[in-house]
């Protein structure tokens, strides 16, 4: 298996607080991996570090979508997105004054290039590109079953649809690795089941890897090829769902001392 993301000794300090401590994680091509851990373990911080929102205090983040390792730590978030890492947020962060379709169209920004002059003249190439953006966005919208909301303002969408729209928007940036921060949080059981299928479908159709943070263990166990467990910023376990389920350190972190 070829790895497309390698994180080596990642450390992140917030003042005196060490949110991440020498974390090593590697993600393989076309793999669905999960990052789990108790509240405040540093999972979201990990996402923020590899997507450039935080500059890690120490360590290396390497991507190799085409086999050649490239260091991306310290780069700006927009550059990292361009390189093929797309993410969703734990708290929904959609563009609230735009419609569902337009949110995805914004996602197409980094794979298109019309400039100010093009926009004003609306020449042939701009028109063609705009058309392409619309078609592609609508296609993604349909893929995630959101086409009925196409022209709705996102604020009027139900919660579950908003969560899916965030995934759709991330997909529009054409990533090779999709990072999902608690995609099932706040969904009802039926929606969670649909999400399960959706994530598998996304992997197949887009041929990408997915790393998800999730507290819903049923979803994690059924989806993941590989699970990474962190606690207090340190990695305490890694393996297949079966291995993780029987890992004493993980059980201890989740259930406390007494049970073991």
């Amino acid at each position: 298996m070829k790895s497309i993301l390698k994180v080596k000794n990642l450390t992140m300090n917030f003042g005196g607080l060490r949110a991440l401590h020498n974390l090593n994680i590697s993600i393989n091509k076309k793999e669905i991996a999960a990052l789990i851990g108790p509240n405040g373990a540093g999972k979201t911080t990990f996402f923020n570090c590899i997507t450039g929102i935080y500059k890690p205090s120490n360590g290396d983040i390497l991507i190799s979508p085409k086999g050649n390792n490239e260091k991306i730590n310290g780069l700006k978030p927009n550059i990292i997105t361009k390189k093929g890492l797309a993410r969703t947020f734990q708290n929904i962060r959609l563009f609230t004054s735009m419609t569902a379709l337009e949110n995805i169209m914004v996602g197409c920004h980094c794979v298109t290039k019309a400039g100010v002059i093009g926009a004003i003249l609306n020449n042939k190439s701009t028109k063609a590109e705009e058309r392409l953006i619309i078609e592609k966005s609508y296609f993604i919208l349909k893929e995630l079953g959101l086409e009925i909301y196409v022209n709705e303002l996102v604020t009027s969408l139900p919660y579950g649809a908003q969560k899916r729209l965030e995934i759709a928007r991330a997909l529009a940036t054409e990533p090779f690795l999709l990072l999902l921060d608690e995609p099932a949080a706040g969904l009802n059981p039926q929606e969670t089941n649909e999400l399960d299928e959706l994530i598998l479908k996304i992997r197949e159709q887009n041929d990408i890897s997915i790393l998800l943070i999730e507290h819903d263990m049923k979803l994690v166990m059924s989806l993941s090829d590989n699970i990474h467990v962190v606690d207090y910023g340190k990695k305490i376990g890694e393996g297949t769902p079966k291995e993780i389920r029987n890992n004493p350190a993980v059980i201890k972190a989740y259930l406390g001392e007494e049970v073991v």
Binding site: T51, G52, I53, K76, P77, N78, T81, K82, A86, R87, F89, R93, L94, F95, T96, S97, M98, T99, L101, E102, M105, V106, G107, C108, H109, C110, V111, T112, A114, G115, V116, G118, A119, I120, N122, T126, E129, E130, R131, I133, I134, E135, Y138, F139, E147, V150, N151, L153, T155, S156, R169, A170, T173
Partner: protein, 410 residues
């Protein structure tokens, strides 16, 4: 809240008002005859008046659309729908342009002159709309770019005899450059901080113009700025006014055209994304700095060109024309009209500039009315007169992918 409760509260409000206005409206001391006149009727008037106003206020607040439902209700607002219906849209545009073309022939020169100033504000409002309405950058020093435009025409003409038609694009470009120069250091700032820094920048430009005598002739300003000439022919005073009117109409049309194209483009969507959520915007691969600079520069450009036209219209400029107050008025036109909405900003600017001109009789109350209108707007229509409506994309369900219909409306 129950009706009884409301009435009780309104009653208390009216009592409070009676108490507050007691010293000025009830007691009248005649210092000549040393007698006190008690005007109890005034008190009753204030009491009843404030009671009913309070009831009305409460009623309106109750009726105000809920936050969640707001968007739907606003979309149903008739003006928006009318403007988006093609059958109505085109005749309206044709009638409007006919009216505008005939305007200087129907109305007096005085009216035309007022209209020219109003249209200069429309142009600047539309420019500021890019910065505030689309990109969400609160710029309180916008008038600085207006000054840059005006002074670039005045000075270039004074020193090098540059004519209006060359100064117009040049003033725009200079303002654009200034916009980018200002934008650069404030890239990291947002919201209040940005407002303060831009405010400072506006004042710096004004103070420099006021004190750098060798460069800008200080507070005495520059006079005898030529009006634009038409194919080398010198027109009569009336002729130049008409000519200037058509120039500014043309410029406003150009501004509307360009901002409309921009707001529904890749660039425009990036601006709105930046306004809505900076972090998510970057996570979409949008270069935050570049996007902000574009907004600053393109917004400033229109102010610069407005400045050139302003200098040509008044033939005299001095730093007193470019105070913070101008920035505030332009900002109000955008907020009042509806942030991000082109029709709204045009309407807002016309209302804000024309109404005070025609309501000279109430000029003492101008500021009170101004303030009251703004407060009422913020309470009842926070989106402005015309709220920005997003473009609708129509998809044919049968032919699907290959026939994306792109309804043009904005």
């Amino acid at each position: 809240m129950t009706i009884k409760n409301q009435i009780k509260k309104s009653f208390l409000v009216s009592l409070w008002f009676m108490f507050l206005t007691f010293p000025i409206l009830v007691i009248q001391v005649n210092t000549v005859e040393n007698v006190i006149k008690w005007r109890w009727l005034n008190m009753i008037g204030v009491g009843i008046g404030s009671f009913f106003l309070s009831i009305l206020w409460r009623y309106m607040l109750e009726k105000r659309p809920e936050k969640g439902k707001q968007t739907k209700k606003y979309q149903l607002f008739f003006l928006n729908n009318i403007l988006h219906e093609k059958k109505i849209f085109f005749p309206v545009i044709i009638l409007l342009s006919l009216f505008v073309l005939c305007f200087p022939y129907i109305f007096s020169m005085y009216q035309t002159n007022i209209m020219i100033s109003a249209l200069i504000y429309v142009m600047m409002g539309l420019g500021l709309n890019i910065v505030i309405g689309l990109a969400g950058l609160l710029d309180l020093g916008y008038v600085a770019f207006f000054a840059v435009g005006a002074y670039s025409y005045a000075l270039l003409n004074y020193h090098y005899g540059l004519i209006f038609w060359i100064a117009l694009p040049l003033g725009g470009i200079l303002a654009l450059i200034f916009g980018v120069i200002l934008g650069y250091p404030v890239l990291r700032l947002r919201g209040d901080y940005l407002a303060i820094v831009t405010l400072g920048f506006g004042e710096i430009i004004r103070l420099v113009l006021e004190n750098w005598n060798d460069f800008s002739f200080g507070p005495s300003g520059i006079s005898n700025i030529p009006k634009p000439c038409f194919l080398g022919i010198d027109l009569s005073l009336q002729g130049t006014t008409k000519y200037l009117f058509y120039i500014i109409v043309g410029m406003v049309a150009l501004t509307i055209f360009v901002t409309n194209r921009l707001q529904n483009s890749r660039i425009g969507r990036a601006w709105i994304a930046l306004k809505d959520d900076e972090i998510a915007c970057q996570a979409m691969g949008i270069n935050k700095g570049k996007t902000k600079l574009r907004a600053f520069g393109l917004g400033a450009m229109w102010a610069g060109m407005g400045g050139v036209i302003f200098a040509a219209k008044t033939t005299f400029i001095n730093p007193a024309s470019f105070t913070i107050w101008e920035s505030v008025i332009i900002l109000c036109t955008v907020v009042l009209g509806g942030m991000g909405s082109i029709t709204g900003v045009v309407l807002g600017a016309l209302l804000l500039i024309l109404l005070p001109e025609y309501l000279r009789a109430f000029s003492e109350f101008r500021m009170i009315i101004f303030g009251a209108v703004l407060v009422l707007m913020m309470v009842f229509r926070p989106g402005g007169i015309i709220k920005n409506v997003r473009r609708i994309y129509k998809f044919d369900p049968i032919l699907e992918k290959n026939s994306v219909k792109n309804e043009v409306n904005s």
